[in-house]
Symmetry: C2
Subunit: 335 residues, 2 copies
């Protein structure tokens, strides 16, 4: 017993097509007619039938979120942002996990998009850093928007964050607290964010006249375990740094665990900083000094620019860089 266009057209005494014009905001509808139709729509509580729309218009009104293996809280925030952006737009979200290492990745995703008639993709790291993958999407005319792109192509749709500046600022903050021996744990090498954060760190120590010590710079992959292992490694060194900046909070937590197992106290014996402000940052003690990105807002914006493009409103909603916020907590001690 759902209300259909036909019911509305009868109520407003116009043709079915005219109602369709109004609800799709098409041009060339007299103002009076439009008003009349909208009144009927509201009165009857009409909602267009998705299936019929998509059958006829060949659009699915579905966006897909592509991800490979990020941490769960990041994924949850991204999802939540996209859902909010989709609300009342008529678009829906499906979520698709994939394996960035698979050599079938490109064909799998193209097949996925075609099978489900996905209108657009939202791409997260590390897929967002794979140039050949993005090129494949373009070759198949698949629309997409990128969260955290490695290069900010003005042609493409993306949302980015100022990771370099944030890492620079955080490192400077550590230095301001009197530290000179500062270790660094790199993130997953395939994520461009890893390099931006690392460069921010490098430039900050350099500009403060601190020499880099590669004994204290370890490769991680954003996982708790990689942080733990890096910690074990560093604590075997002859000289131990007074502070360590890990490229994300999970790894910082890993370092904290390895420090505590060695009998070291944070921040008395070692200061620590992370990145992301994930839940774990304040669920351990001492709570982590870190950088908070507006992940939810970024994801929402990524969805919005994609939808704006579909609806022909690309002028109004554009790619954008978001600012991160420094959060200083107990894990950082003044020397």
């Amino acid at each position: 017993m759902a209300v259909t266009i036909k019911d509305v057209s009868k109520d407003a005494v116009v043709s079915i097509k005219t109602v369709s014009r109004v609800i799709n905001n098409e041009a060339n509808v007299a103002e009076a007619t439009k008003k009349k139709v909208l009144a009927s729509v509201k009165k009857l509580g009409f909602k267009p039938n998705k299936s019929a729309q998509s059958l006829r218009s060949k659009k699915s009104y579905m966006l897909a979120l592509l991800y490979d293996n990020p941490n769960k809280s990041y994924l949850a925030d991204v999802q939540s942002g996209i859902f909010n952006a989709c609300k009342n737009t008529g678009y829906n979200l499906v979520i698709q996990e994939c394996d960035y290492k698979s050599n079938k990745l490109k064909t799998d995703i193209i097949k996925f998009v075609e099978d489900f008639k996905i209108d657009g993709l939202i791409v997260t790291p590390p897929l967002s850093d794979m140039e050949d993958f993005l090129k494949e999407l373009e070759d198949h005319q698949v629309d997409y928007s990128i969260i955290a792109p490695s290069t900010m192509n003005p042609e493409s749709l993306y949302v980015s964050s100022n990771d370099y500046e944030a890492a620079y600022a955080l490192t400077s903050e550590i230095i301001k607290h009197g530290h000179k021996d500062i270790g660094f744990i790199k993130g997953h090498p395939k994520h461009s964010a890893s390099h931006m954060r690392f460069n921010g760190y490098l430039d900050a120590i350099k500009n403060h006249g601190i020499k880099r010590n590669d004994q204290w710079i370890k490769q991680g992959n954003f996982s708790f375990k990689s942080g733990f292992d890096a910690g074990v490694d560093i604590f075997h060194s002859a000289k131990i740094p007074t502070a360590i900046f890990a490229s994300n909070d999970s790894m910082a937590a890993g370092i904290m665990k390895s420090a505590q197992m060695k009998g070291m106290q944070v921040p008395q014996d070692l200061s620590l900083a992370g990145f992301d402000d994930s839940p774990i940052a304040h669920q351990i003690w001492p709570a982590l000094t870190t950088v908070k990105q507006p992940v939810e807002k970024m994801a929402a914006h990524a969805a919005k620019i994609l939808i704006a493009r579909f609806d022909g409103l690309a002028e109004k909603t554009k790619s954008k860089e978001f600012k991160s916020e420094l959060i200083v907590r107990e894990s950082l001690k003044s020397l």
Copy 2:
């Protein structure tokens, strides 16, 4: 240029309707015909058009996951399980956050189901514990399956876990380690799991001849902060327990934080146990003794029984109780 039923029907030299019969597994199709059609389907790579199917059949092929505010890692596991169960079934998942305290909850959800023509709901705590809400769904003939129901109605579809037994076992394990003074932090009062876990704890100490001490039994709500506050509270007591069992890991982590801030060492000065085996359980040090539920499997099963009902295979896939597993880690010390 997608392949349609028409193409298949030409290739197999049968009518469109017969192809439809085959792909929907309807009765009364000759074996030979069926084989012929399936061969053509495979040869042409035919996939039915979802929009057309759902337009005509009035089904959306969409399930919705209803949740209010659980922790992110639980939600991620649930989602992941459902996605896996949906794969290759033709069903899709949409996720709907809601507010269990809202007095518009019931009408909102009914509206949501009707607007989106959702075929079935998967209901998580604490919504799964609201009898009147579930009744409303039944009154509106909305199909649903419950994760962690408060009462196991054999008529309804649900997946449950043996929280009572697990809490009993975990408490017994703590006692076996020599503890007699054991505190308990209750979970969110609206979650039936909270009561099951609490009862398991109560019965275990009782059966081991230990008297309950209400100074050490605090109300929490599953959040990190509520655990932290409960810890602060308990550590103000004249006498402090030698072990605390928190109804979930977040609260256990909160207690650990409050203990460490008081200068107490875990497990030297205080043993701790949690519940759920969430990521935080092994990202803090010492790692938490806890109970692991097969959340992903449970969620997958919840989706499966719902889909089985739609496909008329209810006999094969039924409601089920899942067993949890005790995980003993460093946070528990022998006295």
